[in-house]
Each structure stands twice: as C-alpha cells, then as structure tokens.
Subunit: 393 residues, 2 copies
Amino acid sequence: VLHSDYGEQYRPRQGPLAAARVAMIGAGQLARMTHQAAIDLDIELVVLAGSADEPAVLAGAPYLLGPYSDLGALTAAAEAAGGPGVLGAPGVVTFDHELVPRRLLRQLEEQGYALRPGSGARRQLSERGYPVPAFAEIQSRRDIVAFGAAHGWPLVLKARSGGYDGRGVFVVDGPGDVPDGLDSGTADEPGWLVEEHIDLQAELAVLVGRRPSGDSVVYPVVATTQIDGICHWLVTPAEVEPELAGHAQRLARALADDIGAVGICAVEFFVGPGGRLVINELALRPHNSGHASIEANVTSQFHQHLRAVLDWPLGATDLVAPAAAMVNLIAPDANLMISRNLPQALEVEGVHVHLYGKSPRPGRKIGHVTALGRHGEAALGAATAAADLLLGR
Amino acid sequence: VLHSDYGEQYRPRQGPLAAARVAMIGAGQLARMTHQAAIDLDIELVVLAGSADEPAVLAGAPYLLGPYSDLGALTAAAEAAGGPGVLGAPGVVTFDHELVPRRLLRQLEEQGYALRPGSGARRQLSERGYPVPAFAEIQSRRDIVAFGAAHGWPLVLKARSGGYDGRGVFVVDGPGDVPDGLDSGTADEPGWLVEEHIDLQAELAVLVGRRPSGDSVVYPVVATTQIDGICHWLVTPAEVEPELAGHAQRLARALADDIGAVGICAVEFFVGPGGRLVINELALRPHNSGHASIEANVTSQFHQHLRAVLDWPLGATDLVAPAAAMVNLIAPDANLMISRNLPQALEVEGVHVHLYGKSPRPGRKIGHVTALGRHGEAALGAATAAADLLLGR
C-alpha cells in the first residue's frame, strides 16, 4: 500500500520479519554505516537515495530512488518503514542529512509518521541563552563595517544556507577587505550573516544520544582539527581540562533536551581564549565527529542512533581504549586509485579502514581511518600513516 | 560473460568499482558477518545462496541463487567475483561452509579460479602426526567392542560425514550399549568411526589467519563450552596455563601451514587429564569460536578472512579488553519472538547483540551476544543475562 510510484522500487524483504524497520532519508556514508549497525540488530533500514550508486545502496541497504524534496518520495520511504499504524507502530523516519525542507517534514508528521528528530527540533540557540559567537544579519556592506567596529576584526561572513564543510564561509580581516556587491538575500540568494571571529584555542565536539522519552547519554569529548572548515582528524578523549570537558558535555546534553533532539545530536564547540566555550554548529543526525565510536566506544553512534529513534534503551558510551584517533580520507583529485593503495595501508598495525564506495573528487570525503592507542598521539600517528598511504601522500 | 543461467540473477553494482570482489559459497550467518566487514573495505562480496531469505542476502550482500553442489552455480559465482584473468586477477572464491564436494572444487580450480582455501587443503591430521584422539574405522559391532577393549570405555561413535553441531555423534558407555544394526558405509550411507572418549577438562579453540604467501597470525586462545556438541558460550582469553595456551597456538599455526589453509582456520581442542591436548575439529572458514573477535580483537575474524583470501596484509589479533565472552542464541522453539525481547535485553550494560535474521527452530543458532569485561566471569555474566532475556528464559 505505497503512496506513490517511488515505492514500486522497494521490495519488502523475503523470509522472517525484521526486528524493526526504519526509513532513513538520504543514502550517503552516514546511512551506509547505519546500515552496517542495523544488520547487527536485524533492523531493516530502508534508505531514500537520489541514485543507485550512493554509499548506502552499494552496501546493500534496501532502497527507494527519489528526491528528498518530494513529498511523494518521502511518503513512500516512510510507508516502506511500516506506515502509520501498521502493527500499532507508526513508520519511524530518520535522516542522513538535514536538507529536507521543514514544510515537508511537517506534512509527513501530519500524515502520522514518526519523524525522529521531529520537525519541531529547532536550531535557534541564541534565543535560548546558549553561548554562541556574537552575530548579526546584514543588509549591506555598511552593516559589516559597523559589526567589526563593535566586535573587532577579523570577522566571519557566512551564507545563511547551503553552506557546510567550509563552503560559504569567509574570514574578513578588516574594513578594507569586505567584498563588494554583497546584497541581502532574495528568494534565489541565501543572504548573509556576520559572526564574531573566535581566536581558536581548540575545537571540540560532543555527541548526545537521546530517546523520545527524554533519556539521554553523552559521549566523551572529542577534539577535532578543521582545515578550511572541513574536519581533517580528531582525537578522543580531547586532551582538555576536565572542567572544560564536563562543561561541554553538560551544555550538549541540556541543548539536546531543550531542542527536543531524538537520535544522535552532535554539538561542535569553539574554545576561545581563557577557555571560553561557544557553540559553533549542531547536527541532528550521526556526525563525522562520531566516526571513531565504531571501534572506540562501547556503543557506536550508528547503533545508538537506531536505538534512540526506535525508543529502545540507549547503550554505554565509554571508550574501550585509553584513546583513539580518526583521520578523514579527503580525496586530493579524481584520479586517486584508493583500492591500489589499500593493501599497503593495511600494513600499518591496528588501523581500521572505512571506505564509502564514493568516486574520488577533489576535497570529497571518501572514507576514514580509525586507530586506538595508549594515548591520542600514538593513535593519531597510526591513523595518519595509513591515511597518507591510502591517499598516495 | 557469465557461464550459466545462475549468473543472470546477479547485477554488477553501479557506480565506482569496488576495491576488490570476492565470491563466497553459502549465505549463512558467516557470510552475513563477512558482508558487514566487506563494507568497511569496499569489497563486493557476492554470495551463492540457496534461497533469498538466507542471512547474508537479508543483510544486502549481492547474491546469486543456486545449489552449492552444482558446477554451473559455483562457476557463475566465481565469474561474478571477477572471472579468471579479469584485470589480471582470477576470481577469488571462498566459503561459508565446507559442504561443496571436493570433485567440484577441483573442477573450479582447473578452470582457473583462485579457491581460498584450495581443494588441496586437507583434513587428515593423524597421518601428519598431529595429536588426535585414538580412532578407528569400523565394519561391525565387533570392531567397536574390540576398540573399547583396547582404549577403554566409554567411546564415541561418529558418522563419517554429514555430522556437525553434535549431530551424528553418540557416546557408548560399554559393550552392552552398542547400538544394533550398525553397518559399514555404502554409497548412500556415511559409515562410522569410533573414537577414544576424552575425559574433558576443557575445550579450547584457536583461530589462525593465513595468506596464500604463508604469512599467518594467531588469535588468543578461547575456552568454549559445548553442550550436546553445540557451542553454547565461550570466554577469551581462555583461563588456562600459559604453557598450555602457547602449545595450542603453536599447534594451530603449524597445522594451518601444514595443510595449506588460506583465510581463517579454526582449530578446536580437547584438553584431557594432565593437560593432554588433542585436536577435535578443524574448520577452514570463519568459525563460531571467533564471533567475539568482532568487538574483542583489533581485527575481527571476518576482516581477517577477507584480507587473507585477497592476499592482503593480515591484521593484529590482540584483545582490546582484558576479557570477553560470547553466548550463542539457540532458539528454544519456533514461537520465539526475539524482536519483542530485544529492547529489554539492550538494558544490559555493554552487550553487543548480533541477530542473523533466521526463523527460530528448536536448537537453531539465530544470533549471538558478546560482552567485554575486566575478567571472563564479568563478561560472561553480562552476555548471559542479555541472552536469557532475548530467549525469554
């Protein structure tokens, strides 16, 4: 009883019923690794993919093809996960990305599907009193100069939407560097924000797993290293003062509660001078900063996300080793033959290679490498050595 | 260019080429967990399944349907993995079980496929001087009585083929208990062996990973507990004298070399009075005694098997925790609703549940639970508690 033609591509599995079914909108590497976790618990994870060569489809997740911006495609995916009221359980729908228009999320909820997180989980943080960098919406070049005069230079110019992994973000050093021709947003253009530039001492990330009932668990704090806005590597636990780590964990957990997060909620922090902690970004889904959890924590973020969206008991978040590190595999160019480099990289003792099945393109994340160790430096050394070999560096 | 109609069911994946392709004959839980590992390394694991509801197919492994006793089906699977000479690499073929007739293995090798392990990897151990229980082929009831007189009672009566997980094995207490009507094997019947009965002090298992080039790695020794010939639980590392553990590891490694094993080779030992170590069984594939390696060892047996059959560098085998335990989920009856019990079982801290997607039938292994711990007892306690909840005990 599928609501649209999109559903025709999906064949319910043969044989015994799965322990549960979940629809995931999107079929990238987050969906791919969620599918691997779903196999453990015999959860059928039905993904909505834009094309059949996406990472989760290549890993064998059952899938529907369709655009995430189309209500028919979203409904078909939700139906494949059970439909409203099937066996008393509404179809649980969760997300590999945050690109689905809010209007469609609300329409799905009105049809009775259980969106996790729901359309009401909101990202406006400053209104709720959480520490964020000073910021302002701008209408003109003059607004930028005024903001710089008030908060100091440099400042950060950000596109209001469409930006991620460092795209649409510019640092402006002084009044003379403000780009020309900057106008406020129209229907076709995103518009811009200015934001205080933090003199970064560190970048941290904290994952929270949260059930619809409100139970939550928090992961050890991770220290990330970003270059041009893209996470290149991370170490867990972050080597910071316990007070600072505890503060970040408490903020992340309070925030997840406050916005009604369900599933994994990832909070990224800037640490400024004097240990000032401000929230940089928030993601309501499994997140790159949690990839090491597959090997490093008792419960991986992907298992945790599934348990949370199904309102099942959450798992322990402890590290299983003193430390771990994760290095992203960011393709240098389109000619990379990662499979040719793989055997040599596996010579590096104790590394865990995760490839996503993606064609290499310059700057594209095509996999990651994790290593455990006695301390962060040792783990990072091993993971970096393997990543360098994989990327032919 | 597939060799038979069986191949028509298989569609090569769209998008970027996989890092490697491997065919696995059989699609049970071993293939399912190998598929999960294959996703990490972007290896396309094509399985030959008897039906579309088998565990690896439900987990999304690309598959062909066909009988493992049919040369056409085996050839189609080998072709799907690359075929002889494709890109200079022959199709690598490995196994989820050991049921393929040797005659067909030899025919596949003659066609140029790389069988790993090869058809020559043999199981006759006593001829090579390895310690095994005393045994004899029997022709009649009188042979059994004579064997008992020579080696003592009780003795063990075993079907020569078709027996596993305790099937086809009988303990005979004395001359008066020998079953009537026992004849030697014919073409249709398996025939029987008698074997010395060992007064078991412990049962151990050792996994070896071995490459075609001869490089090998050995895992820490595991202590298994079998009931009626079926492994019910295990603890790693086995709590035995280091000398005994070292002896078992050396024997297993020498044996893997001697028989030309490739991939995972699992050696099961009986420990008799006085620490006497004899080889009970040998498996040339991933094995139940290695399931805890998914979480407990740096390199899981499934990753190791793939690396070994592809002749890639082998991975470290160290435990990541002081100890771990694994409990098999053996269905008590066909009415078990394991998914209903799953959320409660996940309340047990730190357990890793693996469900295989199999319909419950009495005595059928439908999953397993692993837990890490400071010592074996703690880990076994947690894994057992979760298993009991899952099975409604």
